[in-house]
């Protein structure tokens, strides 16, 4: 497909377990973003990758959260020792070039539930 793909769509995990969320951006897009959205709330910025530059990790809420982007394409967001407050929809987006200059295309998100 031509869009941003996220997997899994839904994930239920036990408190304390680690989870990995995957994002396949649109081919050729150099910028990739991760956001978190709690029910009925806005988008909370987590991390931003732009080309070969060091990622902007300023939005990561704690050191339990990390993300990588391999080969400038697929990205994985990892949450270690999950807590109930981590429950949210995790959204990934990509854009053709530097942030803001072009539209961001979003995936459908991963709904994470920590029980």
């Amino acid at each position: 497909g031509a869009g941003v793909s996220q997997s899994p769509s839904n994930k239920v995990t036990e408190k304390g377990k680690d989870v990995e969320l995957r994002c396949d951006p649109i081919s050729g897009h150099t910028a990739l973003y991760w956001y978190r959205q709690s029910l009925g709330q806005g988008l909370e910025f987590l991390i931003y990758f732009q080309g070969n530059s060091a990622p902007d990790k300023s939005g990561l809420p704690s050191d339990r959260f990390s993300a990588e982007r391999t080969g400038g394409s697929v990205s994985t967001l990892t949450i270690q020792r999950t807590q109930q407050e981590d429950s949210a929809v995790y959204l990934c987006a990509s854009s053709l070039k530097g942030s803001g200059g072009t539209e961001a295309f979003f995936g459908q998100g991963t709904r994470l539930t920590v029980v």
Partner: protein, 111 residues
Amino acid sequence: SQQGEEDPQALSIQEGENATMNCSYKTSINNLQWYRQNSGRGLVHLILIRSNEREKHSGRLRVTLDTSKKSSSLLITASRAADTASYFCATDKTGNTPLVFGKGTRLSVIA
């Protein structure tokens, strides 16, 4: 952190009426964009306005930008039930900073 704040938080109108949503932001920006979200999943881009532009149109959408007041408005004319969604503004400070979203306005259009 959230740069933009949309106003109102929620808006309910009759089909055919116009809907106006506002966005205020705190620091200087490079561009401002508006997005729409249905049912709490992926967002869809609506329109982008650059910091040196004052107004843009796209179909039934009209966006204005006032950099002196650090604010933008999104006008949807002749609203339809299908316009029911949440609307978010997003800004970036420079071309190398992340896109930061506001909290959104929930629009309900009643048929």
